[in-house]
Symmetry: C2
Subunit: 343 residues, 2 copies
């Protein structure tokens, strides 16, 4: 008998197939392995092919702005979804509502090495990526037009990446997206009723039962969420309550780098390098410090197709129970991954 | 400058790229053309390979139940997302909520001809498909456990179809999906404020401006919605207010058959037979007759990938303004389609 489970944070229901549950080998997909070879605007030496640097980390102080010698660069997206110049121009269009597409759309080039991934990069360099997210969020928040800053990564063509070179993206939006607003509001209602953060409660329960826990380090826990929409969906949560990604002590980012690398390595081992998306869920601009919202990262491997039923209902059908996904991920032999990588 | 547009029905915001808008030829995709050849459980002669018939239309009265000679068959899905037997067993799971996955999952085998599509089938047979949807909805509604019945079609592998033979699906759910509830409630709020149906207002405005109208016949209008999530998204709306798909006079279904065929032919001509999903949006069980909700069909061609940004925010980035999509679809030369099909 399949199960209907409710995500306690969003109120979304999910159908979990328990009878004929799909194991990692049952999903047909392409391995995401960089081919390299062609021209890449994100590779060192091609700095002039991207818009100018907004931020760069260079180990050598003598290195030149917009030149080589960087470990990480942030540039404007050459084909931005939103434009940075102008005002919002809110207006009616007959009975409809519109505004100018004002916002920022930036690309974090995570490494000069075209062939690396966040699973294979050295920890210190993953930490750099996390610091770049923080630095850019703090800077973008100074623009009073922006109400939400979304950090996300599309890894692999199937997950929407159009360039192979490791990169992630930031989009600053002039309105708080409805899905974010709903999640934050639901957390507020829970807090209002119980004087507890719902994510803190989830962490407590998941640590008690253990069956959906994937990994844990001093500051973070990774779980397969109870009402996972997608097979092998994972959430990375700070164990101590914090409401925004960008307001944390530095020890948090080094701990997150380890947790992120660990999680993505497990994903690569269990599912043989699948395409995936991850998104940072953090509080909206101006609501950074609160007791009800708990920032976190959601990782969704691209294994199934979203089809008519999902579009029509907002319901998801997940063929792999999160308890099984967590077991596979928890028991992944990371030593194998390291060996394969060294070949 | 891109535009942010709000969907007045759902409140969802969409980013419409206006600068570098994508034309039909800019989308990379595979044509959906049936190959045939292999074993197909939905082809005539293989009736025993599916679960038994729930409904069948046979022109010849002497034809045998579960035998050949049918124009259309409805069978239970062999791999159902939900189980039909049992009670809901609502229960808590620690702080979480779950229930048994009770529901119905049926497949409408639209034609005995493996190589046909809803765009190429004769009108009378498309009408049969629409009647089958109606007949099954009316029957499933008698089961008091079901609160919503979703009719949808996945056409082509990219849109989630696992079998090539033309078919659509029905899923009966024990709860009203949140996305449906929100849409119906928003319509109720609009009605409560204005004493008018929001969709009736949309139809009036779209007919006035004409720029997003694709086609029209005596009972239906097809439009590219103002805040289309996807390039070439289309809505088919009855011009006279009606709140549920299954409660209509027979002239409506023949008119809808013509509108659906016309719409899908235009899609095939303009985008060279893309994969698509369609979903019938109708009132929940027990709320069939009302003044605020206006049933309709949404058609979404599968041209872009939903990636991290969309998953994180619920915002969509649509690279083709609906005014341009509507123009391409309106001006499609259907005569070319008919000629190609005859070859």
């Amino acid at each position: 008998m399949p199960e209907l489970r409710k995500d306690s944070v969003t109120g979304r229901w999910v159908i979990i197939s328990t009878d004929r549950s799909k194991r990692p080998g049952d999903f047909i997909r392409e391995r995401v392995v960089a081919k390299g070879g062609g021209f890449c605007p994100f590779c060192p030496g091609n700095e002039s092919k991207t818009p100018p640097e907004i931020l760069a980390y260079r180990p050598n102080d003598k290195a030149v702005h917009n030149g080589e010698g960087w470990n990480l660069r942030v540039v404007a997206n050459k084909f931005p979804a939103l434009g940075i110049e102008g005002d919002l121009g809110r207006q009616a269009d007959g009975m409809f509502d519109k505004m100018n597409g004002i916002g920022a759309h930036e690309v974090v080039i995570e490494t000069p090495n075209h062939m690396e991934t966040l699973a294979t990069m050295p920890l210190k360099r993953i930490e750099d990526v996390l610091w770049a997210f923080r630095d850019r969020i703090l800077d973008l928040k100074q623009d009073r037009r922006f109400k939400y800053i979304m950090v996300f990564k599309n890894h692999g063509e199937a997950a929407g990446a159009s360039l192979e070179h490791p990169h992630s993206q930031l989009i600053a939006l002039p309105i708080v997206p409805r899905r974010v607003r709903e999640e934050v509001d639901n957390c507020w209602h829970y807090y209002d009723e119980k004087e507890r953060c719902i994510f803190c409660d989830i962490i407590r329960q998941e640590r008690d039962t253990g069956e959906r826990v994937i990994g844990e380090n001093e500051h973070f826990i990774s779980i397969a969420p109870y009402a996972s929409r997608f097979p092998f969906e994972m959430w990375l949560l700070p164990k101590v309550h914090g409401s925004s990604y960008e307001n944390n002590q530095s020890s948090i980012y080094s701990s997150l780098a380890r947790m992120l690398k660990d999680t993505l390595m497990r994903l690569d081992v269990v599912l043989d390098r699948p395409a995936y998306n991850f998104m940072i869920h953090t509080s909206p601009v101006g609501e950074e410090i609160n007791d009800h919202y708990h920032w976190h990262i959601e990782v969704i491997p691209k294994l199934t197709k979203v089809a008519g039923f999902e579009w029509g209902t907002g319901f998801y059908i997940n063929p792999t129970p999160p308890e099984e996904a967590a077991r596979f991920l928890r028991e992944a032999r990371l030593s194998e991954f390291v060996l394969t990588e060294k070949k």
